[in-house]
């Protein structure tokens, strides 16, 4: 009997210690993920029956661009100041390139945000992590794309067209008086720029997403403008990367990168491109309006212009259709009616012209709301908005932006961009490389069907 007592004491101590350790590890995840939940489920704070119920929800968005981060933080601060009973826990801490990895990690540790900027709607909707956007919010927006007949996103901005951001000085020095009207004129301009001693184009090839900018220019012009359903045909194996139009697109891509792109493009990060442009190391950058602020910040006196690059026939095709992205409500948070109301209130507040206008001005965004929004823009952004409102400009989407039947396997995009890098580096045969693309695409489709 006496011998058992120390044993019992020992077991009790061990159990207590194990529980304490478990509590240390597990509490964080539980509180983090549902920290909001803990608060939201708590009863009224005793401030009286009329006092609004205290609610906390977590929020997350990609913070690669400091201006975007600041703009959203400003809106959050204004919202919580106006609604002191609602607390917003901001999880945002990662760059755009690692956003999906970061969200997956948050999900794995039980901290999937309640309100999340969703960029991979298909993946998270299929996994049941996000829910449909509440119907009473639909009226806020001009156009809401559907996935599987359901609307999941409140789009923060419209899909931004990409184009050539150029140094006015470099163009003047090279004797280029006006933006080219066809792709061939653009190539001739590259020759002039190279002859003037400047590297014609800077590319941030170290960040793999940046490779999509030029890829999508060629794909949209050569393939998607004529056949927006090309991706679904590729999935069904009725179209191939070895088709003439696709081979032409990739051949043009290879020629451009081999001849006119800055030599250090493969070790240049996306966030270094603005510096290379303003320091006069390169004359042009192919990117979107989100770069305007970064360029001005890098050198306020730097004079630059923007134009959408026309194709060989002089037609302009831009990245401008809506895609599946924007604020989404997590499935877990949607179970809590108080949280849903708080998140809806935030979304309504975010898209009110008083907040949305300054946000758009900061990020050089395109409005998505039915309510008229006015904000100050520079000459480059005016051109972007003109392109978006011009019906003669064809609106399309990039390789990985299509959704529904036209969605590509999620793993294919980065692999394909790397393949294109290798094609340029090894001066490979385009058709042979496109055969590899077909094989990989089919493998990915097969793997995802398992």
């Amino acid at each position: 009997m006496m011998a058992k007592k120390p044993m019992l004491t020992f077991i009790t101590a061990m159990t207590a210690m194990t529980m304490a350790l478990t509590a240390c590890g597990g509490n964080d995840a539980n509180n983090g993920g549902n920290g909001a939940g803990a608060a939201s489920n708590s009863p009224d704070n005793g401030a009286g029956e009329d006092a609004p119920k205290e609610v906390t929800f977590s929020i997350a968005y990609a913070t690669g661009d400091p201006a975007t981060k600041k703009a959203i933080e400003t809106t959050i601060d204004a919202f919580t100041a106006k609604n002191p009973h609602i607390k917003i826990v901001n999880y945002s801490e990662t760059t755009s390139s690692a956003y999906l990895d970061w969200l997956k990690t948050k999900d794995a540790v039980g901290q999937f945000p309640d309100l999340v900027e969703m960029r991979d709607t298909k993946v998270f909707a299929d996994a049941g992590k996000i829910v449909e956007l509440p119907e009473d919010l639909h009226g806020l927006f001009k156009l809401l794309p559907e996935y599987d007949g359901k609307i999941y996103n409140a789009p923060l901005t419209g899909n931004a067209p990409q184009g050539v951001i150029y140094s006015k000085k470099a163009y003047a020095d090279a004797g280029i008086a006006e933006p080219p009207k066809t792709y061939d004129e653009f190539l001739a301009a590259q020759e002039k720029l190279a002859a003037s001693g400047i590297s014609p184009i800077v590319v941030g090839g170290k960040d793999i997403f940046h490779m999509g900018f030029w890829t999508n220019y060629f794909f949209e012009n050569e393939v998607y403008a004529a056949d927006p359903d090309w991706n679904s045909k590729r999935t069904a194996k009725t179209a191939s990367f070895t088709d003439a139009n696709m081979v032409k697109a990739v051949t043009d891509y290879k020629e451009l990168f081999s001849k006119y792109v800055d030599k250090g493009w493969l070790s240049t990060a996306d966030n270094q491109t603005a510096s290379i442009l303003v320091t006069g190391k390169a004359a042009q950058l192919y990117s979107g309006p989100w770069m305007f602020g970064q360029i001005t910040e890098a050198d306020p006196s730097f004079e630059f212009g923007f134009y959408a690059l026309p194709n060989r026939e002089g037609k302009t095709v831009i990245n401008g259709l809506p895609s599946l992205a924007g604020w989404s409500l997590s499935a877990e948070a949607a179970k809590d009616a108080d949280k849903v109301e708080a998140m809806k209130a935030f979304i309504k507040f975010f898209f009110e012209p008083a907040q949305y206008g300054p946000y758009l001005a900061t990020v050089n965004g395109i409005p998505t709301t039915t309510a008229e929004v006015t904000y100050e823009t520079g000459e480059q952004m005016k051109e972007v908005l003109r392109l978006m409102s011009d019906d003669s400009v064809v609106k399309s989407l990039g390789l990985a932006n299509w959704y529904g039947e036209n969605a590509i396997p999620p793993q294919f995009r980065n692999w394909f961009y790397k393949l294109l890098q290798e094609l340029v580096l090894k001066d490979g045969d385009v058709t042979e490389y496109m055969k590899q693309a077909d094989a990989e695409y089919d493998n990915n489709v097969k793997a995802n069907q398992q």
């Binding site: 990895d101 250090g264 270094q272 793993q411 980065n414 692999w415 890098q421 398992q450």
Partner: protein
Amino acid sequence: MMANIKKKKWTNYAFWFLLPALLVYTGFVIVPTLSSVYLSFTSWDGISDDIRFIGLDNFIEIAKSPRVHNALKNTMIFAVALVVLENVVALALAVLVDQVRWFRNLFRSIFYFPVLMSGIIMGFIWMIILNYNFGVMNQLLDMTGLGSLKTDWLGDPDYALISIILSTVWKAAGYYMIIYLAGLQGIPQELNEAASIDGANRWQQFRHITFPLLAGATTVCVMLSMIGSLKIFDQIAVMTDGGPGFATETLTYIIYKVGFGELRQGFGTALAIVLFALTLIISLIQIKLLRKREVQM
């Protein structure tokens, strides 16, 4: 009899003392490892609750995938180059530091300093040094009239691999230097003195006395550097992101890329199992060979 009872009692107590650690180890290592084995036979995307068993499909794909073969080739290049260079440099540094008369501790600290840095920070430092447009390396070449030698050190497939190897050697050599140094200080000085009297020069002393007596340290260093090189990840993630193209992708790197970025956790886990098996086989062979050498010495 009493001794046996005491021993049994102590064994019982020892078990209870070990239990907390065993529970933690089981929860954080054994269970995830066994789960990984199961997940390697599934098509799990890492997010959804839908985990489908697909048998050996992931392993069949690994056997057929040119990307995996390329990563395996790169991993082997890293492993061989790093094991050789890290150990040669570490041994050379250890011998030099052992013989230096002044500032011995200062030199030890300087050579050991890079070890203290995280791989991520080290990667950023070298990425900045080797940047084509703004990097110190190319600026130095420009300033010294060697501008024609300017290279995209991390963007050219031929140089990217070499750049990562050399920067990793710079970081790791100090660690192995300390192990070799400990081995050197355990060698009786009389042996070298006797050899010197017999007319052996410095190289002959090193070749026939010092190096053989460092067999134990060599076994440890070679094995650690081999395991470390098979796991190389931080430098690649920061300096090249596996690029340009697929030029610096290694097995550990595509495990992460495929598992997290490409939403194929099942396939990534199967790759991890392959890497585990590979590391185990290489380590066992290495230990066997090096132990045999130790005995012969």
